[in-house]
């Protein structure tokens, strides 16, 4: 039910799925397929790449700002955190927040969520059944 007050609904965070990026188009196609269920079901969700592929994280923040978003959650499509997620991406995010006047939250990499371990178990069970 819609709220009865006249206040605007708080804007949800816009989701950006962040992959590393590669000059290999096949690599990026795999990530686009990985992102597809989220992009199809979460309004405004997009994929972006750290480097070596388009669209960039900055391009997707700019698109979100243009469409009215001021708060973003960047969800790394990485199985574990290395130097990129501990240093490079936080620095990119700080610069983007300052440049665009937005709030950007960096979530843990997807591999730290137990959903991923369960998905791996299902993949293995399919491989054993084949």
């Amino acid at each position: 039910m819609a709220p009865l007050t006249g206040e605007p609904m708080p804007e949800p965070h816009r989701i950006i799925l962040l992959a590393h990026g590669s000059s290999d188009a096949r690599w990026c196609e795999t990530f686009e397929r990985l992102a597809a269920p989220t992009v199809a079901s979460v309004p405004g969700a997009r994929i972006a790449y750290m480097e070596l592929a388009d669209p960039s994280l900055e391009a997707m923040i700019e698109e979100g700002v243009w469409e009215g978003s001021r708060a973003f959650k960047v969800v790394p499509l990485f199985l574990a955190a290395g130097r990129h997620l501990r240093k490079d991406v936080p620095a990119m995010i700080k610069a983007l927040e300052e440049a665009h006047g937005v709030h950007i939250t960096l979530t843990p990499p997807i591999g730290e969520n137990p959903q991923l371990g369960e998905a791996i178990r299902k993949v293995v069970e399919q491989e054993l059944a084949d």
Copy 2:
């Protein structure tokens, strides 16, 4: 029901979950947690690392041979295939097959299975609910 013939059951493939490896213990701990549901539910399943961490793929093949396995499936804990999975790992596997007289199948990386895209969607839905 057990088969009534006296023939031995075909030995199932032993599963090895192959991660890249890192000198950062936190990185490896994330992969061990990712592997845990599979290791807990699939008899003989193990994690191994390509490089920079133990146990190595060779050590896990040797363990399997010692325990009676002659056929292995290596399931890459990679979201997409790059140079490692197209070149380096197939070469490692060929050398291990020759050295140990075993059959090793390299499956596609986990990120090419639709289960992973569904898991990512669930992770994002959890992030939006927080």
